[in-house]
């Protein structure tokens, strides 16, 4: 009911108290100094960061924060002095924001993410990952088949800018040069090319991820379409007897890049599944829970895309031996696989929880 009576008895009566003072005004008089001290400390942290305070001041601030919270709770009940309640509201929320602030260092955060955050998230997403891989492989198979049936499908799938001159009508020798010459771009502009590829691929991956929120379907459709394109592309080269070479050409970066796209698709699928089947949770709550892993999947996809763009833009134009291309590409794939399956396992840890 009333404020803590103990303090009222102990507190020396101030000059104002000796006169007839409202109960709520007395409540305020007794505590105002505490609040103002908290106000000062909070203002210092707001301006100069938590390091501005020494040990004792920090301890005082936390104690004063708790007191102010109690005062706020009491004041809401007993006081009709609006200025007082408003002041306490804002003081408490400011102090709350200062005291409950992020405490992680940036370096430790990155290390933790790489060591177990990302690998664990991937291991919890096995089902969406498999589904995304299936969509991609299905796309490749369908693309390959359609091309074998009718070559004109190629023009339907592959956008002009990407095909350059690599069309079914081109000669085998020309196609060979596209695989082994330093591409249409000279060495000076390799960096430009890599940058272009990076932003292009990133946009596709982001799209695949983001559209997943619409019931996961667009993610799979886009991944399937990516596979379709790849299948037709491969079929065209295979048609001219360049199957092995094009696999090498694609592998060097493609293993990493396509995995990144599949991972982005799995991330999108997890968001989509949250919207589609929230279970006992509200959709918002389900989205929030799935978001934890989805975010990590996206970070991983981003990392892999940067790596792939570097390989594609720089290394592929320098390394022409198909065996080395294969070894490098699948070696990277093995590296990702090992990292994602082995890292961040605690000794006692049981297998990751079910994917969804």
């Amino acid at each position: 009911m009333s404020s803590d009576t103990g303090q009222e008895i102990l507190g020396a009566p101030s000059s104002a108290e000796q006169r007839d003072v409202l109960r709520s005004a007395r409540f305020r008089l007794e505590r105002e100094a505490h609040w103002q001290r908290l106000d000062l400390l909070v203002a210092r942290v707001e301006n100069a960061g938590a390091s501005a305070l020494n040990y004792h001041e920090t301890r005082d601030m936390v104690a004063a924060y708790r007191q102010a919270m109690t005062s706020l709770s009491v004041a809401r009940d007993i006081s009709l002095d609006r200025a007082l309640v408003d002041y306490l509201e804002s003081l408490c929320s400011r102090a709350y924001l200062v005291i409950y602030a992020p405490q992680e260092g940036v370096g430790g955060l990155v290390a933790r993410l790489l060591a177990h955050g990302i690998p664990q998230a991937v291991r919890r997403s096995v089902l969406p990952l498999l589904a995304a891989f299936a969509a991609l492989i299905l796309g490749i198979a369908v693309g390959y088949h359609l091309f074998s049936v009718d070559q004109n499908w190629y023009y339907t799938f592959v956008p002009g800018e990407m095909a350059d001159m690599r069309t079914p009508g081109a000669s085998a020798s020309y196609l060979r040069t596209t695989l082994y010459d330093g591409d249409p771009l000279a060495g000076d502009t390799l960096a430009a090319f890599a940058t272009y590829l990076f932003s292009h691929n990133t946009q596709i991956a982001i799209l695949i991820f983001a559209l997943g929120i619409f019931w996961a379907l667009p993610s799979f459709v886009l991944t399937f379409y990516n596979g379709l394109l790849l299948g037709a592309f491969y079929a065209m080269f295979a048609d001219k007897g360049l199957g092995y070479d094009v696999i090498a050409w694609l592998s060097i970066h493609g293993v990493t890049e396509l995995s990144a796209i599949v991972i982005a698709c799995a991330g999108g699928a997890r968001l989509g599944f949250a919207v589609l089947m929230p279970g006992a949770l509200t959709r918002r709550e389900a989205l929030r829970q799935q978001g934890k892993d989805a975010v990590k999947l996206v970070i991983l996809a981003g990392l892999m895309l940067i790596t792939a763009a570097f390989i594609e833009g720089v290394l592929r134009q320098r390394i022409f031996n198909p065996e080395i291309r294969l070894a490098l590409g699948w070696g990277m794939g093995l590296f990702w696989l090992l990292w994602l399956t082995l890292s961040g396992r605690k000794p006692r840890e049981t297998q990751g929880e079910p994917a969804l």
Partner: protein, 292 residues
């Protein structure tokens, strides 16, 4: 400065671990766009300066510099928002400028995961649609359709929910609110005017049973800034209304209106606070004798 109504749609109540609910005012979308614009301006300037320095050292040709610009904008963008929100507790420089900040809507501290999530989604929700719109000219019919769906899909979300959260905020569990900032105003019941008025007027319990909390606090606003409330004539009118409504039988001489209002404020507050202590909360003049 007016107190936000608890039922106000723009107020978010969160409960920190201490168990006392505190209120934040949800930031307007205008302020958020302003903050976003400032941030884009700032990152743009940073990239521009870096490019200019590199170009002026003549280490790079102009073409390489343009490549670098594209790469830098991309690599700077996400980390800029994540790091600034992490270091300054939910405030990018643009948000500081606009007086808004990100908070955890569950009353805990802001976690790095939340900051990363909402800013990754910013890439999805804001920058990708933006760049797709700028290149929509050359797209096929399907591309245009996808662009349209994406742009509308993400743009409508913040308008469609009460907390003005965008998708990233929902996934991360964050809300953007206004920075709390306020001064401690003196207690009217302790002011000199109140002291002086105490003897001049006496009120009977019947006088004080008319008005409730709302009217009291409206009177408080008036007394804190009588100039703003209007001319002496208006104050005179308010005073006569009050005396009529409460059936005050004493005489208020011309020129003494403010003294009277101060005395009435004090007496009314004392009375209502006393009622509160015994469990009767009278919110306004329409509510009578309701024990809660």
């Amino acid at each position: 400065m007016s107190k936000p109504d608890p039922d106000d749609k723009r107020i978010l109540e969160i409960v920190p671990p201490e168990g006392v609910a505190i209120r934040f005012r949800i930031a307007s979308l205008g302020a958020r766009f302003g903050a976003q614009f400032l941030d884009m301006l700032l990152t743009g300037v940073i990239v521009g300066v870096v490019i200019f320095v590199l170009a002026s050292t003549a280490l790079f040709e102009s073409e390489a510099a343009s490549v670098l610009a594209v790469l830098l904008t991309f690599l700077l963008r996400i980390p800029y928002y994540i790091l600034t929100e992490l270091v300054w507790n939910g405030r990018t420089p643009g948000k500081r400028g606009a007086g808004i900040r990100v908070i955890n809507m569950y009353g805990q501290r802001l976690t790095p995961h939340q900051i990363v999530a909402r800013n990754l989604m910013k890439e999805v929700e804001f920058f990708t649609p933006l760049s797709m719109l700028s290149t929509a000219q050359g797209m096929s019919g399907w591309g245009k359709a996808v662009t349209l769906v994406l742009v509308f899909g993400v743009a409508i979300v913040p308008f469609a929910n009460r907390r003005r959260q965008r998708l990233g905020d929902m996934i991360a569990g964050t809300v953007v609110v206004e920075n709390p900032r306020m001064q401690l105003l003196p207690d009217l019941a302790l002011s000199a005017a109140s002291e002086a008025s105490q003897q001049a007027f006496a009120f009977q319990p019947a006088h004080l049973n008319v008005y409730g909390r709302f009217e009291l606090q409206t009177l408080e606003d008036l007394l804190r800034d009588p100039q703003k409330a209007g001319s002496a004539a208006e104050i005179r009118k308010i005073t006569s209304t009050i005396t009529r409504k409460i059936a005050y039988d004493g005489l208020v001489r011309p020129g003494e209106e403010l003294v009277f209002l101060n005395a009435f404020y004090r007496a009314q507050r004392e009375h209502l606070e006393k009622l509160r202590l015994f469990g009767t909360k009278r919110e306004d003049k329409f509510q009578r004798e309701e024990s809660l």
